[in-house]
């Protein structure tokens, strides 16, 4: 049992890199609109980019912080499905709204 648990230890280095990546993505997400305005890119692309960042951050939390990268696939996939499907649904709601405007 001890060996089983020991096998699941993620290194502090990996956790720290994950944290720094999450901070970088957060700042990028917050200032994304300014970046897009600078290059006069459209709003759909901006929303898509923000929602993709949500997926990337969710994946880090699930795999590294929650340690689900080493859990049974069902549980990892359930949570990854959440951070994949929810941004897609939200994105579609915005996209459909743009289509009908």
């Amino acid at each position: 049992m001890t060996n089983n648990v020991t096998n699941h230890i993620l290194s502090k280095k990996k956790i720290t890199y994950s944290w720094l990546w999450l901070i970088l993505l957060t700042v990028l997400s917050a200032y994304n609109e300014d970046i897009f305005a600078l290059f006069t890119l459209n709003k759909s692309l901006f929303i898509g980019c923000v929602l993709f960042i949500v997926f990337l951050k969710g994946q880090q939390i699930i795999d590294v912080f929650m340690e689900l990268s080493q859990a049974p696939k069902l549980w990892r996939n359930l949570l990854l499905g959440y951070v994949t499907l929810l941004p897609i649904i939200i994105g579609l709601i915005y996209l459909l709204s743009f289509e009908f405007k």
């Binding site: 859990a71 549980w75 959440y82 929810l86 709601i93």
Partner: protein, 192 residues
Amino acid sequence: MPELEVLTKEKRLPGDLAMWFFILAELTVFAILFIGFSVAEQLNSDMFTEGKAKLHQISGLINTITLITSSFFVALALNSMHQGKGGQAAKLLVIAKLVALIYIAVKIWEYNSLFDQHIDIETNTFFTLYFMITFFHLMHVLLGMVILIFIAVKAAKNDYNASNISGFEAGASYWHMVDMLWIILFPLVYVI
């Protein structure tokens, strides 16, 4: 030896199964709220644009960074716990809670700032949903902090050991769920 090899390669769900079902239920409730918010935004786009302009995006950014940082310390605490260092894990959890206190302080400041502008839950649909979702999330943060206190005390007393940390893992997973919900809430309410 081959038996040991099979054992070490076995996939293991951290924490209690019941906690993961609870986490799935919480995620479902928030998913409904997030989808409801998105639909309401499309039906009242001008109102939502004006409402979002009255929010402090910087406070949303600070809160995201504090929750991610708090989660980072909880992940480090779990790492220490895996190595049987209960005392160190407890100290890291205290840091995680102190960082989370910044989130609570900023949230209270944000609410007060809106109340000073005579904005409350009844102002319009945007603020009804804003207060409902963020306050519901805040309640989860508070519950998460209670859970972190509980597991920190147990870790300090060395009630967990390297092979029996299921309770600790369950508490940590709950906290990471609270963090994960905020990373969806933040862009939806403050950024998009």
